[in-house]
Amino acid sequence: MTKKEPVIKVEHLKKLFGNNEVLKDINAEVKDGQVICLVGPSGAGKSTFLRCLNMLDQPTSGKVLFENQDLTSLKEDQLDQLREKMGMVFQQFNLFPHMNIIENIKLAPMKVKNQSDEEAAANAAELLRQVGLEDKAEAFPASLSGGQQQRVAIARALAMDPEVMLFDEPTSALDPEMVGEVLKVMQDLAQRGMTMVVVTHEMGFAKSVADEIWFMADGYIQEKTSPQEFFTQPKTKRAQDFLAKVLEA
C-alpha cells in the first residue's frame, strides 16, 4: 500500500441550503490511492459533501484543497481544468441520451483535451472493453440496462484519465441483480490503485474494498476508521444505531 501526501484536503467545510445547515464542520484528507467509503443515514450530507469536492455545490465556507489548490477560490475556467481530473459517477448515470455510447465517452476527451477522433475512439474502445461493454459502442443509452449504463458512465469518467473518482451512490438506482456488475468494475478500479471516494449503502463493498470508512451523520464526520474496526467496534452511538439498522435488513 502506498499512502503518500493527501490529494484532497478539506478544512472546516460548511454548506448551507437556505437556513438548513447540511455540512457543519468537515475536516478530512484523501491520500493518493486510497479508497474511502462514505456511509451514514440518509440526509447526513454525504452527497452534498461529495459534490462540494468538485464544486458542483459551492461550499458556504471552508476550504477544499485539491493538489494544494483551494478550489473555493478558483474562477470558473480554472475550475474546469481541475474538474477534468476528478471523475464523477452519479446515481442516475446521466448519460447523454442524444449520443451513442462511444460518442458519450469521446465527447470530453475531444472537446476538452483536444484529442483526435481516432485517439479518443481507441481509448473509448479500450475502456468499454474494461467495463465489458465493447459490443455496445454504437448503441444509444436508452437501449441499455441500468447496470450497463452505469458502467458506461464509469468508462466515460475514466476517459478523462482522472486522478480521483467520486461515486455518488452509484448502485442505488439499480435493480438488485445489476448491482454486482457495477461493484465489480469499481473493485477492479480500486485494485489498480485509483483514488476513490464512494458514497454507498453497499456495506459488503465498503467492508471489502475500502481503506477507510467515514461515517457521516448530522453534518459531521463522526468516525474515520478502518472497515474492520467500523463494522466490529463502532465507537459512537450514532454509528452503532446505524449499523444495527443496516445489518439487520
Binding site: 474538474r83 477534468e84 442516475q92 446521466n94 441520451p97 442524444h98 465527447l107 444509444f140 466515460r156 478523462m160
Partner: protein
C-alpha cells in the same frame, strides 16, 4: 438638497430639449419658407427624382394595371405627378402605401409629395402644405342595384351603414352630415365595395370619379348622388410643411393643367382606357382571369418567402442569444433580456413595424422592406427566446452536472449537451412559431412592401373581384406554411432516429 435640485434641473432641461427638437426643425423650415429659399426644391433637383406617395386602390385616381405582365401604377393622379416631375426636369418615382400612412410618410421624409385623391381640408393643412386644387369632384354613394328604389341619397340611409375609406373626406362628411347613419371605415376602397356586395354595408361613400369607375366595372353596384353639402377645396398635392418652393413649382404645373383642361381632356380618358382595357381583356378570358395575374401572386410569394426566411434565421439567432441572456447569472444581461421579451411580446407587431419605419425614420432612413424584416425578426426573437428557454429548462440538471464534472465549460456544455436535447424537445413549438411568423409577415404590406397580401389587394383593386384573390392568397399561404411544417416534421423524424 441643492444637489438634488440641480439634478432635477438638468433632467428637465433634457426633457425640454427632447420635446423641442421636432418643433425646432419645423421652426427652421418656417423661417426659410418666408424667404422661399427652403432646401426642398434643391434636394429634389439634386436627387434627380421626386417621390410621390399614393394609395393605388382608388380608380380612376390611381390603381394598378397589369401591363404586359408587369404591374404598373396608373391613373389621373399619376399623370399629375408626371406633369409636375416633367416640369421640374426630374424623374417621377411612385411609392405605394396605405392611405392612412401617406401623411406620416411625408412628414418623415419617406416621400416628397402625396397625390392620392387627397382633399385639402383645413385639418390636414395644419400638418402639411397643399398646392392649389387640381381637381374638384362631386361626392357619390355606391349602393346595390337591388336597393335602387330604396335609397336616393344619404338622407334615406338613416340607421343604415355607410362605408368610407379610413381618414378620408367621405368619412368626415358622413360623420358631420349623415349623423343618423352608421359609419364604418376600412383602409381599401376595394374592401368597401366588397363589403357592400356582401351586405355588410348598405352604401359606400366615394367621389364621383371613383363611383363611376366602380359602378361600370362591378356587377350589381350602381352609383347615386350623395346629397352631401360640400365646402371642400378639391384634390390637391400635399407637401412637407414648409416646402414652399415645391408648392410653388407644383402650382405652376397645376395652372398649366387647368388651363389646358388636361384632366378632363387627357388624364381621365387615359385612365378610363386603362380600366376599359383591363376589363375587356378580362372578359375575353373569364374562366382563367386570375391566371392572368399569376405574376402578381408569384411576386407576392417571393417577397413573403424572402422576408420570412430571413426573419426566421435572424429571429432564431437573436432568440437564442436572448434565451441565454435570460438564463445567465449576469444580472444586467438577465434584466435586459427579460425587459426586451416582455416589452416586445406586450406590444402589437403593427405598432413595432410603424415605429421602425416611421419613428426611426426620423433619425435614419430605413427602406420599407428592411424595416419589415427588422420588425418581424425582432418580434419573432422574443417568442423564440421563450421557446428556447423552456427547452433548456426541460433538460434535467444531471445532464449539466455530468458534463461539467467531465471538465466541459459552461459554453461547451450548452453547445454539445443541453442545446441538442433542448432543440429536439422544442422542435414542434419552434415550428409553430415559424408558421405564425410567415403569417404575421403579412403586416409589412401596410408600409407598402409588395408581399402576398399586398399583391392580393392589388389584384382585388384591379379586377374588381373581392373574394377570388382572397381565396388564392389563402391557398398560397397554406401551401407555404404546410410546406414548412412538413419540412420541420422531416427533421423531427431524423432527430428521433437517434
Amino acid at each position: 438638497m441643492k444637489k438634488a435640485w440641480k439634478w432635477l434641473e438638468s433632467l428637465i432641461a433634457v426633457l425640454l430639449l427632447l420635446t423641442l427638437m421636432p418643433q425646432k426643425a419645423s421652426a427652421a423650415d418656417d423661417a426659410s419658407a418666408s424667404k422661399a429659399t427652403d432646401h426642398y426644391l434643391k434636394k429634389v433637383k439634386d436627387k434627380g427624382e421626386i417621390v410621390m406617395g399614393t394609395s393605388p386602390d382608388f380608380p380612376p385616381y390611381e390603381f394598378v394595371q397589369n401591363i404586359n405582365g408587369k404591374s404598373k401604377i396608373v391613373g389621373m393622379d399619376v399623370e399629375v405627378g408626371h406633369k409636375i416631375a416633367h416640369d421640374l426636369g426630374v424623374k417621377l418615382v411612385v411609392k405605394t402605401m396605405d392611405f392612412d400612412s401617406l401623411l406620416v410618410a411625408l412628414e418623415t421624409g419617406k416621400i416628397d409629395m402625396v397625390i392620392s385623391g387627397m382633399t385639402a381640408t383645413p385639418k390636414r393643412a395644419q400638418s402639411v402644405d397643399f398646392s392649389d386644387a387640381y381637381y374638384r369632384s362631386g361626392q357619390a354613394l355606391l349602393i346595390r342595384k337591388a336597393d335602387k328604389d330604396k335609397y336616393h341619397d344619404y338622407r334615406s340611409l338613416n340607421g343604415k351603414t355607410i362605408g368610407a375609406q379610413t381618414g378620408s373626406l367621405q368619412a368626415n362628411l358622413i360623420k358631420e352630415q349623415a349623423k343618423k347613419a352608421k359609419l364604418k371605415t376600412m383602409d381599401k376602397t376595394t374592401d368597401l365595395v366588397l363589403a357592400l356586395k356582401t351586405n355588410k354595408f348598405d352604401a359606400v361613400a366615394v367621389d364621383t370619379a371613383t363611383s363611376a369607375a366602380f359602378a361600370k366595372n362591378t356587377d350589381g353596384i350602381i352609383a347615386i348622388p350623395s346629397g352631401f353639402k360640400i365646402t371642400s377645396d378639391g384634390s390637391a398635392v400635399a407637401f412637407h410643411k414648409g416646402a414652399t418652393s415645391l408648392v410653388k413649382a407644383a402650382n405652376k404645373s397645376i395652372a398649366a393643367i387647368k388651363k389646358q383642361d388636361l384632366i378632363n381632356q387627357v388624364y381621365l380618358p387615359k385612365a378610363g382606357k386603362y380600366l376599359a382595357g383591363g376589363k375587356s381583356k378580362k372578359e375575353a378570358k373569364v374562366s382563367n382571369s386570375m391566371w392572368a395575374y399569376k405574376d402578381f401572386f408569384i411576386a407576392g410569394v417571393g417577397y413573403t418567402l424572402f422576408i420570412s426566411a430571413i426573419s426566421v434565421v435572424f429571429g432564431f439567432l437573436l432568440g437564442a442569444i436572448l434565451a441565454l441572456m435570460r438564463l445567465s447569472h449576469n444580472q444586467v444581461a438577465h434584466t435586459v433580456a427579460t425587459a426586451y421579451i416582455e416589452f416586445v411580446r406586450g406590444t402589437p407587431l403593427m405598432v413595432q413595424l410603424l415605429f421602425i419605419y416611421f419613428g426611426l425614420g426620423l433619425i435614419i432612413n430605413i427602406p420599407a422592406m428592411l424595416s419589415g424584416i427588422i420588425a418581424v425578426s425582432l418580434n419573432s426573437a422574443a417568442y423564440v427566446a421563450e421557446v428556447i428557454r423552456s427547452g433548456i429548462n426541460s433538460i434535467a440538471v444531471g445532464q449539466t452536472e455530468a458534463s461539467r464534472s467531465l471538465g466541459l465549460s459552461r459554453f461547451a456544455t450548452m453547445r454539445y449537451v443541453i442545446m441538442p436535447q433542448a432543440m429536439k424537445n422544442i422542435w414542434p413549438a419552434l415550428g409553430n412559431e415559424f408558421v405564425s411568423l410567415i403569417k404575421e409577415s403579412s403586416i409589412v404590406s401596410v408600409i407598402g412592401v409588395k408581399d402576398l397580401i399586398y399583391q392580393s389587394r392589388i389584384v382585388q383593386a384591379d379586377t374588381y373581384r373581392g373574394v377570388m384573390p382572397l381565396v388564392i392568397t389563402m391557398i398560397l399561404y397554406f401551401i407555404i406554411t404546410f410546406g414548412l411544417s412538413s419540412l420541420m416534421k422531416v427533421f423531427e423524424r431524423k432527430m428521433n432516429h437517434d
